[in-house]
Subunit: 198 residues, 2 copies
DNA sequence: CCTATTTTATAATTCTGAGTATATAACGCT
DNA sequence: AGCGTTATATACTCAGAATTATAAAATAGG
């Protein structure tokens, strides 16, 4: 008994996510969000409360996709899965993909000084997702006999992988291309090869 | 025949640098700069033109100090010098040092989307300084017989080191402490050990 | 002492961008 | 048809922050 929404909320969130991805929270004014989503500010405020509400929705959406990648591919895999991740990151299939802007979560992470507590919580959750995925993959690698390492070393290596990934993504963000990230990934993958039992 | 400046420009720039270091360009309002430097906004505008002028002066000042470290310690050194850099980064002597806020240049790098062209130029110069310092150190290591590598590998490893350093600094920035960075540095140093000729 | 210049202190200006208000049109259901 | 909700379009309010303006005090040299 009322006019239904003419826009699909998921589509709007997707479009907003890409906009935030490219230009960040602070440098994406409401105008740009109107343009990106194709709906008016009032509708955005109605649907998401405020700008941060929309941003949180975008982060959640991104997290959903990332969870598929990390829990599905990395956490279930072994050293090969980790190497595949680094290779894929530094050689995106679509050269126009927003991935060239780095990673929404990492970008947001790097903006963390400006972020609210809710946003910080998302980021922390995301960092944990990555780290535990790496830990899982390393544990799998150990139980499959790919490498030998005690628990402390696995924790240490997971943190290293996280730092390496962030560093590569930061380079992508600054340079706007993946060439430097490829070098980082290549040497990182050689390091991982060094972990393999000979 | 006029009242002279009662403040020392270098001291003011130093104080401003620390302020920017801790909270970043955008989140350091003029108020905070007045407090940090102890002089009034008018004097700041008189001496530096605008807020960005002061920021550029702070970046230059930081760069000066960094150049001593990188050109003096790293570029003249070898694999050991690189490892020392990573060790020092993840274990600062003074726990209250602003180094715990990461590195002013890297922080600025990570904020690059908000930066002006002049600031971006500073950042690019800084990145080059780091990279070429790593290249020099690796070349030294080769000529000293520490490791065997052709020029391409040296370039690749230098980029890797840059990415690793940035990743570690990004972790410091997010976590506000150096524990994760220590893991990154430790594994990174093991990787460097792997480059040594056995 | 007087003048030119730089201070301090306070307040006005200006701009940007988030969020709100108002009026109106569109639409589905009873 | 009429009601209630959601859309469009435009304009307004409001806050924060940079920058500028004004007035008065301080100080070195002529």
């Amino acid at each position: 008994m009322a006019r239904p929404r003419t826009f699909d909320e998921d589509t709007v969130v997707d479009a907003a996510m890409v906009a935030f991805w490219r230009t960040g929270f602070d440098d994406t004014p409401i105008n740009a969000l109107e343009d990106a989503t194709g709906i008016k500010r009032i509708s955005l405020y109605n649907a998401f409360g405020d700008k941060e509400g929309l941003f949180l929705a975008a982060l959640d959406r991104y997290h959903l996709g990332a969870r598929d990648v990390y829990e599905g591919m990395v956490a279930q895999g072994n050293l090969d899965a980790i190497q595949n991740l680094f290779t894929a990151m530094s050689a995106p299939a679509d050269p126009d993909a927003p991935a060239h802007a780095g990673c929404l979560m990492v970008n947001t992470v790097l903006d963390v000084r400006r972020a609210s507590d809710e946003v910080k919580a998302r980021i922390t959750g995301y960092r944990e997702l990555l780290r535990t995925s790496f830990v899982s993959a390393l544990q799998n690698a150990r139980s499959e006999g790919q490498m030998i390492a005690d628990d402390d070393v696995i924790e240490q290596r997971a943190t290293y992988l996280l730092g390496l990934l962030w560093g590569a993504l930061a380079l992508i963000r600054v340079e706007g291309k993946t060439t430097a990230a490829k070098d980082v990934a290549d040497v990182g993958n050689l390091t991982i090869d060094g972990w393999r039992r000979r």
